[in-house]
């Protein structure tokens, strides 16, 4: 079924193009939006993907599923957009990645780990996030944190244990692949 559409598309059949468009456009747009996190730009880029599909139709391999082909173009479009954005930011003097250190062998996955932890920490309620940061990133003792925030030491311990519970799952997964 799909194979026929691809053949027709390759032969320049616009009807087949519309069919494929209606089946895949939303997926392409959602996928790009998930990567670049901007809906307006995702619409633009998703349209570019299909313009490319149409203009390069003669080069399509009819033996491969069209979904895989669209996935590849969509991914490249999104990645190119991000690369472009990065260059632009560096040019404007705004570069949050300046402090990126080259990763030594033993810290191979540390960067992935810290990104995951950052996402999870950001999802915590404000109080818990504050306590976690004071404890793990600033290295303060539970007693000092309790004093600083004007709460009981017990509360600090409870909040920390809740925070660590969430992180433990991921850290275990991490260790599992290391040891």
């Amino acid at each position: 079924m799909e194979k026929e559409y691809i053949k027709e598309l390759r032969d320049g059949d616009h009807k087949a193009f519309e069919k494929i468009f209606i089946t895949y456009f939303k997926r392409v747009k959602l996928f790009i939006c998930g990567i670049i996190k901007s809906e307006a730009e995702a619409e633009e880029l998703a349209q570019d993907v299909f313009v490319r599909l149409w203009t390069n139709r003669e080069a399509i391999n009819t033996n491969n599923p069209i979904g895989a082909y669209l996935y590849t173009i969509a991914k490249n479009c999104a990645f190119n957009y991000l690369k472009h954005k990065q260059v632009e930011q560096t040019y404007l003097g705004y570069n949050p990645f300046d402090n990126k250190v080259p990763t030594p062998e033993e810290e191979l996955y540390a960067h992935e780990m810290s990104l995951l932890v950052e996402m999870i920490v950001n999802e915590m309620p404000i109080q818990r996030r504050r306590i976690y940061i004071l404890s793990r990133e600033k290295g303060m003792s539970n007693r000092d944190i309790a004093e600083k925030l004007g709460i009981s030491k017990k509360t600090v311990e409870n909040q920390l244990s809740l925070a660590l519970q969430k992180l433990r799952k991921i850290i275990l997964l991490f260790l599992y692949f290391f040891l």
Partner: protein, 320 residues
């Protein structure tokens, strides 16, 4: 490790995150390291996306046909698709009509903080705003195509998602701050004489009275409402730390300090005698001190220049 990268990518896809975190992950994504594992995880995300078509797809189709110089096949459409979709399309059009009608009435959102309160707000474009005490912001439920505008009274810290095609603008009574994407603080309380814009990183433009100023990293612009003059200076201290509960006074008179304390602690000062002269004070409270501890410090600093009695939220200051 593959599961690990998979976990990172699916979590990233599941929703919006902090703007800074999103930028870091995007940077990691396009890095060539582990590109095979990333590709595998991404293609799994692609497969699992749950997709539901809506009328927007047909609008996009129209746009794309215009781009590739084709028109929809009307005869094909009428013969094959129209009878089947008519039953769906007619109610859909009715809904679209209602939606169009409503979308011309875009709702205005207002967020207000009371004295002693702070709030964290996520804007429609994913930018984040931290609102300090006694402040208010207004913005449209959906930003326009060319501009993201927020109106501010009081103090707020902005972390703006970068979008070069859509300027971000903060309007206050006396100044307007324009950015493409960065982090900055604006303090514009209606009863303060000074309006301060503080920039942590990047670049912003500030329109004050009839002049336009450009700020760079670690600079602030202090605009004096009374005599309409502006000064650009380096940041001597991180005055945007109020978000973690710190209270920082930088070269302020007692009058200005007491105003700030009223906002931060939800108290009201009544004065017996006139407030102290124009001496300026710089002082930091970073340990969650309460109002009494702070007033005691100021008593010491002014060498016992005043005494105070507390009566609920009212504090009577007797100046010696």
């Amino acid at each position: 490790m593959k599961n690990y990268i998979h976990e990172l990518i699916t979590r990233y896809f599941s929703k919006r995150h902090n703007p800074e975190t999103e930028i870091k992950i995007q940077q990691w994504l396009i890095d060539d390291e582990f590109s095979q594992e990333k590709d595998k995880a991404l293609s799994q995300v692609w497969e699992k996306l749950s997709v539901k078509n809506d009328k927007a797809v047909y609008q996009s189709l129209k746009e794309i046909n215009a781009k590739i110089g084709m028109r929809s096949y009307r005869s094909w459409f009428i013969k094959h698709t129209l009878p089947r979709v008519a039953a769906v399309l007619i109610p859909l059009l009715a809904i679209a009509g209602v939606w169009l009608y409503q979308s011309t009435h875009i709702n205005m959102i207002e967020v207000v903080t009371l004295a002693g309160e702070q709030k964290e707000i996520r804007l429609p474009d994913g930018s984040t705003v931290w609102l300090n005490a006694c402040s208010k912001i207004n913005y449209h439920e959906k930003f326009s195509d060319s501009l993201r505008n927020v109106t501010l009274t009081g103090e707020a810290y902005f972390s703006v998602v970068r979008n070069a095609r859509k300027r971000f603008e903060v309007t206050t009574k006396d100044i307007t701050v324009e950015v493409l994407g960065t982090q900055f603080n604006v303090k514009a309380y209606p009863d303060d004489e000074l309006v301060t814009t503080t920039l942590t990183i990047g670049k912003v433009a500030v329109q004050a009275f009839e002049e336009k100023y450009t700020l760079r990293s670690n600079q602030e612009l202090v605009y004096n409402v009374a005599n309409k003059s502006a000064v650009v200076q380096g940041i001597s201290d991180n005055s945007t730390n109020w978000r973690d509960g710190s209270i920082i006074f930088n070269e302020l008179t007692m009058n200005q300090i007491f105003k700030e304390l009223e906002r931060r602690f939800d108290v009201k000062f009544n004065y017996i005698g006139t407030l102290l002269p124009d001496d300026k004070y710089s002082i930091k409270f970073t340990n969650k001190e309460n109002i009494n501890q702070i007033l005691n410090v100021f008593q010491d600093v002014t060498s016992g220049g005043f005494t105070y009695t507390t009566n609920g939220k009212n504090i009577i200051i007797t100046i010696k």
